[in-house]
Symmetry: C2
Subunit: 396 residues, 2 copies
């Protein structure tokens, strides 16, 4: 059983999975060409096809990811805390695997290897429900991973694809007692469906309608640098900024520079009228402030106070990452205390809210819910705990 | 806002709630007499009426409970961990309240005060959905608690009853985004309904079909002492033992003594045929092994090996607390590693699996699920966390 495997066994398994996947590169790429051809024929858009397409480099990245996991500490067996009761009973709270983790994800076939690797390392069996558009790619990857597990004397069914029609997803969501946790990875629609319909506990990940608030007293050079990084360094990810809020006192100096810099970076600004007063912008609608663009678009508004900024964020935030740029200690303190999000940043780019930047080594996603894990989820977040009590005959 | 209140403000609030509840004793008891009379008229059974009935002592215990909470450390603001990234961004993971906690509970009106107090201390607003049979008692208690909050300049609506018909429970279960966590407290039926129907994240608590396994090599005096304590010291609670499993090698010496001691303690044994060979028992059916009696009944079986004991527990356990009595180090190690439960005990009574015994000071329940919290839940388990990142202009 994988849950009882030692770190040495699991790490050997990860290396064997990596070896097998490297060896299966040609088969995986061929299967992927089948998926890509079918997607083209179905008229799938170019962005989706790009996410679906594998290359030798992308397969290599999956292989490297599995090897990297082998190098990370094993969370299982960690003693989170321990103490002895007055009666002399020793109590330890020990990290244990969840058991069976279901992962429901969209087009990217690399999730098959990444998620399987994280589950194996954390001692969890993985039930992987990928998109039908990537079915051939996922099957080829999973077959390779399973053959690696067998080489390492680990149970091949610790990594399983959940094939079949849409009903299979529903089964996964109602498999209470068989599946311990469900993690949806993908767009807002997928996540919303899983959260609403699942009877199995769910960890919500990844929707980021993130705000950057430039306070009255701020270093405007710094604000500009953070704005450009947070918007343009990788617009398609959940920790990219989607709305810029500027304090009225900073607007006349900051907004013109921001508009110029954003224009130069190819970003389209959807501004309210007070932003529009400083330059040519697309008029922002209510929907713009609610939207996670994931593209070179940004909504922007001028606010009259920190209170108004907090109210705007309370209304539109998806609870992912919210940033203030300020030189005011009291504004920073209020912002970090009052904004309700997985991460709250002062004078740093929201792009730092990421398992890699946090030093976690591996990340299954960024939780935007409050139960169990909030923010980037590393290997320890893929475990539960168990209390072990050792006595010498104590009774109450 | 309660979430931003300091410990001093919250503790003053708890003392004011205690004062107000003490002052309202007569009104609370009168309201309770109305509930009890109505329950009698409706033909409610004696055990339920006993749970419903308040006395001056029970009101006093609620008042003391609120004062005790004021003496406990505040989990909010605790830094769970913190570090600095290579880029120099300081990261802290800070405990924060969930926000709004819904608690759905059955007859005992004392839960109204206990749950409200735990929520206030942990900075959470409490939406309390009690049983309609306790409606008058709950209303009187909640009115007192709210007047106490007002005296302490805290928002009275931080503690609210959810009145109305059954549909109100359904509303609570679908209030995603408004209610952050739901905690059902009561019987297996209530918990099952909430887990199945809720779209709000749920923390499952309290169903305990707990096993005591007496291994081949065990101190039988110790096993007997633990058996009697775990079964009879308080049979109605979730950490009481419900099934006794005895290794075949220990059966001939242990079972006769156990049957005699259990009979003397007034416990009815539902035994399999191999237990029946040693004395007069009620024949056990499949249902007996699946049942959480919560009474002076126990199921019992002889097993041929540790493996058989583990298999039995795997099949019937509700994942609460499982005990082995053994002198074998290897048996203890296998049992603690392989049994999948919130608590696994070696040579100690399962009655120790309790927030009070754990030294938590307050307990909202014992979680039998794997997400967020598992085992006794104290004040820290009533919080989420937030990452606070402080930089000096860092970008990626």
């Amino acid at each position: 059983m994988l849950a009882q495997a030692t770190r040495a066994q699991k790490d050997a398994g990860l290396h064997a999975m990596a070896d097998a996947l490297a060896k299966a590169e040609a088969a995986v790429l061929e299967a992927n060409q089948g998926d890509v051809a079918a997607a083209r024929q179905a008229g799938t858009n170019a962005a989706l096809i790009d996410r679906l397409r594998l290359s030798a480099d992308r397969v290599g990245a999956m292989v490297d990811g599995l090897r990297d996991l082998a190098g990370l500490p094993d969370p299982v067996g960690d003693v989170a805390r321990g103490w002895t009761t007055p009666a002399g009973v020793e109590i330890r709270q020990v990290r244990v695997p969840f058991g069976v983790v279901g992962i429901i994800y969209e087009a990217r076939p690399n999730v098959t290897a990444d998620a399987a690797g994280i589950c194996v390392k954390s001692g969890n069996a993985a039930l992987l429900r990928g998109s039908s558009s990537a079915a051939q790619s996922n099957a080829a990857i999973a077959a390779a991973l399973q053959s690696g597990l067998l080489v390492a004397d680990l149970p091949a069914d610790a990594v399983q694809l959940v094939p079949g029609p849409r009903a299979a997803t529903a089964e996964l969501m109602t498999a209470r007692g068989l599946v311990d946790v469900l993690i949806p990875r993908g767009g807002a629609g997928l996540i919303e469906t899983v959260v609403r319909e699942s009877q199995v506990p769910v960890i919500e990940t990844g929707v980021g309608n993130c705000h950057l608030y430039v306070d009255a007293s701020s270093d405007q050079e710094m604000a500009l640098r953070i704005l450009l990084d947070a918007k343009t360094s990788r617009p398609s990810v959940c920790n990219a900024v989607e709305t810029l809020l500027v304090h009225a006192d900073a607007a006349s100096t900051f907004v013109p520079r921001a508009l110029a810099a954003l224009a130069q970076a190819g970003v389209r600004v959807h501004g309210d009228p007070r932003i529009g007063a400083y330059g040519d912008v697309t008029p922002a609608t209510e929907a713009d402030f609610a939207e996670e663009y994931l593209s070179l678009d940004i909504a922007a508004a001028v606010v009259d106070s920190l209170d108004d900024a907090l109210a705007h964020i309370r209304r539109y935030s998806s609870g992912h990452s919210e940033t203030i740029v300020t030189e005011s200690q009291s504004a920073a303190r209020r912002f970090t205390a009052e904004v309700d999000a997985a991460a709250v940043l002062v004078n740093a780019s929201s792009r730092f809210v990421d398992g890699g930047e946090f030093g976690f080594g591996a990340e299954i996603g960024i939780s935007t819910q409050k139960l169990h894990a909030r923010g980037p989820m590393g290997l320890p977040e893929m475990t539960s705990t168990k209390y072990v009590l050792i006595g010498s005959g104590q009774v109450r």
